[in-house]
Structures are given as C-alpha cells and as structure tokens.
C-alpha cells in the first residue's frame, strides 16, 4: 500500500512539473485531468478500508476533475480558437525550476511542522503544499486568462490532497459543496472567458487593463 501511495504522490508532483514546463495549453489541461484521476485513486488508497463515503468522494472527484472540467475547458479552447501556446511572462524553464524549488521547500517546511504519527501525513502534506505552490506559479506567471483557470485548478487539487487527511471531519455535505462550488466556478469562468474573447478579441490578460487608477 505504502509503495502505491508514494508512487501516486510522485505521480502528482510529476504532473505539477509537466504543467509548469509545457508550452501547449492543451497539455496543461490534460495534466490537470490526469491529476484529477490520480486524486481519486489517492483518496481510495489513503483510506485502507473502503467506505461508501470515501468511494463517493473519489468517484465524484474523478468524474468532475478528470472528465467534466477538462471537457468544459477544451470546449472553451475550441470556441475561442486561440493560439495554443501558454505565453508565460516568466520563461518555461525558470518557472519549472521555481516549481521544483517550491517542492523542495514544501518538503522542508513539512518536516519542521509537527505531524500526526500516521503513514499519510509525511507524504500528503508536502505533496499538498508543493501542488498549491505550483498552482500559484501558474496563476502568476501566465498571461492567458485560461491559464489562470488552470492554475486555480492545480491549487484546488493541492488543497484536496490536504483534505484527505481530514476526511473524517468533513461531512459528505461539505465535500459535495466544495466540489459543487468548484464546478460552478469553472462553469462561470468559462462563460466569462468567452465574453472576454469576444470583447477584447484576445485572452491575453495584459489587455484587461481598462480599469486602472
């Protein structure tokens, strides 16, 4: 079990780096989808015993993050017919290195904080913090509006990993609410993406500068 767990976590971290290092937006969407599926498997693996609730959370996460949201994003990509490159304001290699550095930092930070004596925490906490940091890097260093949505999804995935430690404290109602909020959020964002493209003839956030002091 532990070896499966560590390979899953390694996979998640690898996906972060792929998302940071690729020049194609569609690859970023795919990596976010893969991450969503990995998260579902991780949720089941992390809780050795299979309960209905864990299964439901895992299934909902796989369906939403691995299938539905990527579909919405691919549709948005098709509709707006933008150039398929990510156009980072910070080069791909520097942002990749930054992501790797953040991962190391996350491991170091987690080792300094007190952890519960479980097999999960030492793996999940650094993975969560590193994924949150990667999401932040994507949000802040990419110019396309859709990249900011993707960065937000990666950030949200990182938070989901942390949430696995607290599955007992979270009523199913809350889990469902979080996923519903995420879905509605992405849905609304994709509608506005469409409007941005129509009004500004671009998805470049540098054009979003009408409102200034």
């Amino acid at each position: 079990m532990t070896s499966l767990l560590s390979s899953l976590v390694a996979g998640l971290l690898l996906v972060n780096l792929v998302a940071l290092g690729t020049s194609r937006i569609s690859t970023v969407v795919r990596s976010v989808a893969v991450q969503g599926v990995l998260l579902g498997v991780l949720a089941v693996t992390a809780h050795g015993s299979l309960s209905l609730r864990v299964l439901a959370v895992a299934l909902a996460s796989v369906l939403l993050k691995g299938w539905l949201i990527p579909r919405i994003l691919f549709r948005a990509l098709d509709q707006v017919a933008i150039k398929r490159e990510v156009e980072p304001s910070l080069g791909l290699l520097p942002s990749l290195l930054l992501g790797a550095f953040a991962t190391v930092l996350a491991v170091a930070a987690a080792s300094r904080l007190p952890l519960a004596e479980t097999r999960l925490a030492p793996l999940l906490i650094p993975a969560s913090l590193a994924t949150v940091a990667s999401g932040f890097i994507v949000i802040t260093t990419r110019r396309k509006a859709i990249s900011q949505v993707l960065g937000y999804l990666i950030l949200e995935n990182g938070i989901f990993i942390f949430g696995l430690l607290l599955l007992e404290a979270m009523p199913f109602l809350v889990e469902a609410g979080v996923l519903l909020d995420l879905f509605v959020g992405i849905f609304v964002l994709s509608i506005i993406l469409h409007h941005i493209n129509r009004e500004f003839a671009s998805l470049d956030t540098r054009r979003l500068s009408l409102l200034k002091e």
């Binding site: 007190p114 519960a116 949150v132 937000y152 607290l166 404290a169 979080v178 506005i192 409007h195």
Partner: protein
Amino acid sequence: MPPLPVILPLVMAVVVFATPSKRWRPRLLAVTAAAHLAVTVAILAGSAPAGGGAWLRLDAPGRLLLGVVSLLFLACALYSVGYLRYRVERANRRFCACMLAALGTMSLVAYAQHLGLLWVGIEATTLATAPLIYFNRTARSIEATWKYLVISSVGIALALLGSFFVGYAALLGGGEASLLFGDLLGAASGLSKPWLRAGFTLLLVGYGTKLGLVPMHTWKPDAYGEAPGVVGAILAGGLTSCAFFALLRLTQITAAAGEGVYANRLLVAMGLVSMGVAGALMLGQRDLKRMLAYSSVEHMGILVVAIGLGAGATFAALLHLVNNAFGKGAMFLAVGNIHRAFGGKTTTEVHGAIRRLPLSGTLFLLGLFAVTGSPPFGFFLSELLILKAAFADHRWLVAGLFLGFLLLVFAGMGATSLAALQGRPPKSARTSSYRDSFATFAPALGLLGLVLLFGLHLPEAVRTLIADAAAVLEVGR
C-alpha cells in the same frame, strides 16, 4: 430539512429563472425578499423554529447576520423593481435568479457552524454575485468580473487550506478531528500551535481577500465600480458582512487557543494599513463608485482593527458592521440613481447632482456624513466605541493612526462628493430621462434612516441582538 431562510431563496431562484414573464421576475424577487424578512423576523422573535442540525444552526451571531442580510436585501430587492423597470431593454432573468441565489447563500453563511460549510457558503456567495457584476455586458464590466472571480476564488481557496490546517491542528491535539465551531472552541487549548498560526494566517488572507483588505483589495474598486449600484450595495453590505463573521469566529478560536496576541497583532496591522491605503487612494479619486469601494476597504479596515483590539471591542465591531451594511447599502443605491441621471459616474460628467436629483443627491450628501463618522449617525457611535476600546487598552498609537486615517478619508471623500453634488448640472445630463421615483429612492432612504436611528437611539431589540452575539463571540477571548 435545511432551514427555511436558506432553502426559500434558493428554490425561488430556480422558480424565477424558469418564469417566462420579464415583468413578473422582479416582482417575485421582491415578494421573496419580503417573505424572507418575515420568516427571519419570526425566527428572531422566537415565534418560529430556526431549523437546522449540528452543522446548520442559528446561534446569536448567526441571528444578527441573518437579520442584517435579510433587511438589506429587502431594500435592494424593492430598489431592483424600479431599477429593472428603468433598464427594461436588458434581460433580467439571470439578474433576478442570481440575486436570490446570493440571498440564499448569505443565509447559509449565517447558519453555518462548520468551518468547511462556512467556506462553501462564502465561495457560493462569490459565484452567485459574479454574473450580477457583468449585468451591463460592457468590456469594462467583463474585465471587472474576471478579476473579481479569479482573485476572490484564489483567495478563498487559501481560506479552505487554512480551514484544513485548523482541522489538522485539532487532529494533532489528540481530539477527534472536527471542524465544528463548538468542538474547536472546546478543544482550543489542545490545538497544535504552529498549525493553528499557519491556518489563521491563511484564513486571514483568504477571507481578507473577500473583505478587500489591503493588499488583496485590488478587485474591489473594479467590481464595485462596474457593477450596478444595487449590486454594489449587496457586495459592500452583505457579502463583506459574511466574510467578516467568518473572520470573527476564527479569531475567537485562535484566541481561545492562546494565540490571541499573535492574531490581534496581525489584525490591527492589516486593518490600519487598509484604512491608510484606502484613504490615500480616495484623495483625488474622480469616480464616485470607486470612491465608495475604497470607503468599503476603509470600513473593513476599521472592523478588523476593532476585532484586533480584543474582546472589549466586539460590541463596537458588530454595531459598526450593522451600520456599514445599511449605510453602504444606502450610498450605493443613491449613487446608482446619480449614475443613471448623468450617464456617468465620474466628477467630469457629474456636477450639480443635488439640483438634478434633489432627493438622491441630498441622500448621498447625508450618507457621506454618515459613513465618514459624523454625528448623529450610527457610524459616529460605533467608531467612538472602537476608539474608546483602544484608549482603555492604552493603545495610543493605534488610536492616533485610526483618527488620522478617518480624517484623511473625510477629506478625500468630501472633496470628490462635493464636486459631484454642487454646481450646475451639465447640458448632457438633461438628456437622461431618469427622475427619482419612489421605488428607487425609498429603499435608500429607509436604510439611511436606520443608520440615523442607531446613532440617535439604539432600539432595545437591536441592542439585545448585538449584545447577545457579542457575548457568544467573546467566550474564550
């Protein structure tokens, strides 16, 4: 069975969305708002059950929040009837449905007793209000909505991580991992300190983004500036109140765990910086709605300073919250009228608003005095109480800066507002057909009247509501 104040507006949002008649949707909106207030009053008076269970329960702070939100919303709904009659060329399906969804989700925040559920509610208020901001479908409003959604969502995501950190702090404390406020308060002394501190900081940044504290305030002037006035009233009066209650509850847990000094220091620093920066950005501000947005940043700063001053200022903070909700609501409704009458909202286009709109113009002037803390309005009382708490604690520097920033704000807001209110209306303003009507003026007058009443004589029922909420929130601090 979910409680009625939460479920009623959400069901009606669906009904309104499905209603084919454009004329009936605003009416249904107003009727639902009135029904919501009736149910709320019955619950507050104790003649109707509040409903809910362990996660959804209406405690004293929740009662206060529900009352404030419900009353503010009714004023906004009545105003919307007049507003949408005027903007008859616009589709109103999404507007009416999203308004009701916002009411339902704000009520959910009032009921939430679980950190996770609280988060779900606050994120849902963001999503429900986003389509309202781009009601006008201009390039500017789309840009504002984008910034609002992206910045708020990322900020609130951090608050979720912070909530998880607090939950993990409880797990390490040996207790069972629970995110219910009651359980967290009971187990506060055992919470793991490093995780709690990190969690509190993330929550402050997260919900601080929603409040619009500096430096996470950047979305606020854009969103408030481009949204219709009535939406600004909901955002500045309702949504900020929800986020503030979240922060208040978390500060209570953090203080009960013995980390109050750390939390208070952060809160006072952030609050004062917000007040100062907002004041500086108001100087020379030409856009009336953006000016009100910075005024909202300033008032959030005041509120955060007030909680940072410790338990003694809780009553003052809650009173200020009530004043802010109604006072800002009135101001945004009035500025919406001015915007329509002049076809613009900057001091280049707007002159002589008092001549052009004697009612809304005068109301805006009175509102200006109210929100800048002049007597006899309620803001004066609550700001005085906050200052008193600072003096009682011998926080001379805090009190001095607080007063200085209030003066700065008065100067900035006064100059901009007077430039718009005085003088002769430009010729272009005469082309607009807008005149003050009962539906677009009375709700603003009612809200400002309440702020005046709170300053002259705080009604016993309101005082009890606030005092009960303060008593619950002071436990452990």
